[in-house]
Symmetry: C2
Amino acid sequence: MTVEETLKPLFEEINRLKPKFIQRLADAVAIPSVSGDESLRPEVFKMSQFLKSELESLGASDIQLKPLGIQPPPVVDPKLELPPIVLARFGSDPKKKTLLIYGHYDVQPALIEDGWNTDPFKLIEVNDKLYGRGSTDDKGPVIGWLNSIEAHKNLGIELPVNLVCCFEGMEESGSIGLDELVAAEANAYFKGVDTVCISDNYWLGTKKPVLTYGLRGCNYYQVSIKGPGADLHSGIFGGVIHEPMTDLFNIMSTMVDTSGKILIPGVNEMVAPVTEKEAKLYENIEFDVDELNLASGSNTAIYQTKKDILMHRWRYPSLSIHGIEGAFYGGGAKTVIPAKVIGKFSIRTVPDMDSKTLDKLVIDFLNEKFKALGSPNTCVVELIHDGAYWVSDPYNDSFEAAKKATKLVWNVDPDLTREGGSIPITLTFEEQLKTNVLLLPMGKGDDGAHSINEKIDVANYIEGVKTLSAYLHYYGA
Amino acid sequence: MTVEETLKPLFEEINRLKPKFIQRLADAVAIPSVSGDESLRPEVFKMSQFLKSELESLGASDIQLKPLGIQPPPVVDPKLELPPIVLARFGSDPKKKTLLIYGHYDVQPALIEDGWNTDPFKLIEVNDKLYGRGSTDDKGPVIGWLNSIEAHKNLGIELPVNLVCCFEGMEESGSIGLDELVAAEANAYFKGVDTVCISDNYWLGTKKPVLTYGLRGCNYYQVSIKGPGADLHSGIFGGVIHEPMTDLFNIMSTMVDTSGKILIPGVNEMVAPVTEKEAKLYENIEFDVDELNLASGSNTAIYQTKKDILMHRWRYPSLSIHGIEGAFYGGGAKTVIPAKVIGKFSIRTVPDMDSKTLDKLVIDFLNEKFKALGSPNTCVVELIHDGAYWVSDPYNDSFEAAKKATKLVWNVDPDLTREGGSIPITLTFEEQLKTNVLLLPMGKGDDGAHSINEKIDVANYIEGVKTLSAYLHYYGA
């Protein structure tokens, strides 16, 4: 029997189960599992129990709710327990390949007062869209996997792969404890995993499905300039002391120009050249400058062509100045000379930039600029965190399987995309499990994850379950 | 009888009354008349009643508590009444000169938790210093005038001038309503005023009394740069849109160098040249770079000589960058591209800078710099408030009288100082009453007005009463 022959009744079953699938997502959305709100921590635990009971009823084996201990500071409650990581297994046939699926069951905060049209924790269908917090990020995809398993179970179709589930409850709050758990279970619960599939990002736009094979990294820096012992009055001290803010503006203005060109020597030189194969990938991608302008709410695009925009979002570095800690930030006027100011900026990193070399280039550059000022203030430039970029081979078995699945379900070849932001867990899995990772998004680019009125289209949810299912079968074949 | 002969018994009476004078100040400090704390507004009113009753017992005529109406927003209580301005008169002899004395009876906030060693609203004497909120700013000087009147009254010595008192209760909160009242009473209650004496600033240091004849003005500007419709994620938009923060740093870094030199063409050219007479004033002033370093809590002085430092504080302009509204300002890392950022800076102004010309130079300069960037963001540069500089002739009758008074009491010629900050009411009196103003401080440079552990030295308080008294007699003579 061909994969397509197996999938035909499965897809019909998925169509038939549509009301049940929507109800399952509604049940999940109804639990306000906001990891960033300590007062809602019991709801995050409740959500882990919900998954446990769903996994049990679907016949999972070895279900474990891995405790992660006490949440480290800053917290209000010093005894605040981290929500567990939910592990479960479907099958352990040594003849089958083993796929790890990752998703998260916590959500971003949401209050109707923020501007939601409806109760964020009540899934509501309007014009074939399912509105509710977590509908697309990331309860939709997590429940999507469960839905696929249910359809298999109903029809007595064996899963074509061994499936290892890893669902976390702190993704929206820094994935505290996940790295350690993945490391600890690499040769235990996760032993034998052949590949990892993460469904926690989005289509580039709203029309065409995508597979994602790259993410930029991010090195975040701060420049601390310190002068007086305390904030001073500009009437009394203006003109007679070296002001930290003057120095900060002077040196931080030299790093990047209005068109986003990084002016720190050596940084752009580390960027991998565009290969012919890579350049070709951009040709068919559905995107244009209007989409960028719509998303930014302005006409401030630096580039006007699809290729330029996407390359600068995905495969070239960028430098953004985020703000200043320690200076006046309120409305109105305050005549303060801030005593210590900390400028914050970050550089999005791409292949083949070496993170440590970048740090040295940035820190040396700013120290040189500061030295040239001849100021008696002190200046300290530091990296405050870094996360590496990630690029996968979009022609490996897992990607090829996902391409076939997408083509079958959506009747179109998926765009192969990268993202400008980072999903740190991608790299964790790749490094710890020594395997490759596929990012297979379910929702659309306009779903509004993290925003008000978050939604997933009914079509994306249901066809998404089919896509995940087909991916399992093509990959297992 | 010479002035000195008249003053001799008066000074003895002041010495004799010292315990009573300290008690009177203690009674005033015990009323927490914090104008910036709405919940304490009844205490500010109570303080105005305290003054009224003191003035009555001293024989003042025409005592008026001028209501100023409802405090304009922002306020919590929309019906919050402004504290009244207390007016009173001692004498109206057309043959005598008329002196207006100004002071304020409200104080800065103070909580023992802020770090006070003792209850801020209980005057306490430690090592010949009187600690308590308002002791030096400005209840000490206000009560000082009353003390002088009491000493005169006790001895049956006629006041050598007609005295008009103007005590306000909103000085620490922007002097709301004062300008209007001064304007309204210029030809009524204040008709015939020959000169104004304000005791609401401080000696330059701690050793030598001063008279103050100049203040810098302040023009406060903001640069608003707007791009995207909302704050954006730097992962997704970094490198593909023109970032407002990049533009803001680029243009705001061009205004001033680390040594405080204003780089906006035309600004320094407006500054009045130093005359020989003015230069001489700096020679005897007690001050050095160590005092500046002590005050700034650092060794970040731009100039090392007394003359350079004081000239740049008092008679040259300065430009300070205060902060940014709309950008990230917290601790840690946030990868935001702020959509609209508002840079705040101000220029301290001096003779002969023309305020409107300055505005034009600043606004045109920044607009040019922004235009040169070629950014599609929008940039608006605006003045948000201005206050003019003030310089008096330190050789007029009032200053000469104050010099003699200081010399008699302190046995030293006072330093003639200016200040880098502004006291807007100085200019209001000068302009509205068409008269000159003398700033005659009572407290020392280390009194800590606005800080914790505010104090006035017993010597400054008591010798200050003598100085005010002697000033009245020399001026009246």
